[in-house]
């Protein structure tokens, strides 16, 4: 009790949602607050497109509520390759390079997304190496996990 003031203040629900995502789970409360200050909130309606396949990627998306479907064009139609719920991240390859998106993201239901812009991420890497390294490590783990899944015969993850 005496040293209670040394404890970190409880996380707000918003920061909790960030903390529960694979990309930011290793950040401290202060680091989460800094990252949260850089993120943008967007609301999408059912069937609204988040981004298109082939579009230049500028940002990573974190699903804070609702569901998002990832699909790839196949002939004249689309192949659904993943359905993502709260806590999932997508479009993360855009943080690494500015290559075109290799799948389309569309809201399956009304959803809220937190958007992390690439330039903000790169700026964070330059000015705050610790946060940058933590996010990069988590990103590398995420991509590694997808590679393992893909090699294990689950092909949908390659599209993210």
């Amino acid at each position: 009790m005496i040293f209670g003031f040394l404890k970190s203040p409880p996380l707000s629900p918003r920061l909790h949602r960030l903390k529960n995502s694979a990309l930011f789970h290793s950040l401290t409360a202060l680091e989460l607050k800094i990252v949260d200050g850089l993120m943008h909130e967007r609301r999408y309606l059912t069937d609204e497109i988040v981004f298109d396949e082939g579009e230049e990627g500028q940002a990573l998306y974190l699903v804070t509520s609702g569901r998002v479907v990832i699909s790839r064009s196949h002939g004249s139609g689309f192949n659904v390759v993943a359905e993502l719920g709260p806590g999932s991240v997508f479009g993360d390859l855009a943080l690494l390079d500015d290559s075109p998106r290799n799948a389309q993201a569309r809201a399956m239901e009304n959803c809220e997304l937190a958007v992390f812009f690439r330039a903000d991420f790169l700026g964070l890497m330059e000015t705050d190496a610790v946060i940058g390294y933590k996010i990069s490590l988590n990103l590398a783990r995420l991509i590694g996990q997808r590679l393992r899944d893909w090699m294990g015969g689950r092909p949908q993850v390659e599209a993210l």
């Binding site: 999408y44 298109d52 812009f117 330039a119």
Partner: protein, 371 residues
Amino acid sequence: MKDDQRAGPVVWCGIIAVTCLLLVLLEHMLWLAIPFIFGTILYYILLAPMQRLIRAGVGQDAAALTVGGVFFAGLSLVLVVVFSYVAVPDDSWKDVISHYLDGGVAFVRNTTLLLEREFPIVEQMRLTSLVNKTVKSFTANFAQRHLGGILVATAGWLPSLLLAPFLTFFFLRDGTSFKKFLARAVPNAFFEKTLFLLHEVDQTARRYFDGLIKLTVIDTVMLAIGLWLIGVSSPIVLGLISAVLAWVPFVGSVLGCIMVVVVASTDAPANPVIAYGAIGVFVAVRLLDDFIFMPLTLGRSLQIHPLMTVLMIFVGGSLAGVAGLMLVLPILGVVMVVGETLGCLITNARLRARHRNAMALRRQQASVDLR
């Protein structure tokens, strides 16, 4: 901006037209534009330390207050120290100024006499007599014609300059929120492109002001070394003032050169070689500036074609005078980024279709239980 997204001739005509319009508006809002520029420069200087404080756990407001407070306290301290240690003249400042003006006039007269001695054709033109008459008519009526106006203009400018620290504080405190506020107003379909646009505008302004500060430091050092080598007094102060004056293309450099030559000729009236040397130093530094330092700092920052740069400087000067000369490049840089991105958004049929679709979805959802 990728090469395939570069603006075409129509967008470029729009960019130039908007830049000219902003310059015309600028001329009428100079009282706001100048503190805005100083505020922006201070913002980019203080942004990095403020971000460090925020990362150390300090709140946004407290961090902005702390860096602003420390900077202005430090600046005040430096000014107090400088004014305490600068040799206070025995005579009044008015006498000191007239002393330097007399020294400058004497230098011009001696130079014309020298020219007349060396070149008979100049003697036939009665150059010395012409110069004497011009100087006499200017100095005789200077106080009545110009001094009052200068003092009133200075007194009028001081309050607006005090806006600069306030602007800096609010830029630091609310800059991120303002950016988010702007981004919130953008439809989802254009959101990523708009984020990119805001980032590019910020980067363009930052690169320009960073480049300007670097160029000022380089100019100060080069001029100070050159003036110190030829024996002019207070080389660092003169170098710094001249480098700041050089923020105004063409006019500023000429004013800086005149100031240094006046000081050099007054300090050593018997040795005109020092004043001629000061002119040589100025020409050398200006050449280095134009061909090496400026392309390395400001030129890289804006990525505008050199011919366009020179033409727009002239356009800026003719539309908005000295302020136009000074501000045409950053304004053009920002308008160029905004114009290129807007051109890209407007001509992208897929993004417009997605926006229309999102609007239709919103209408549909809003009217789902209506008949």
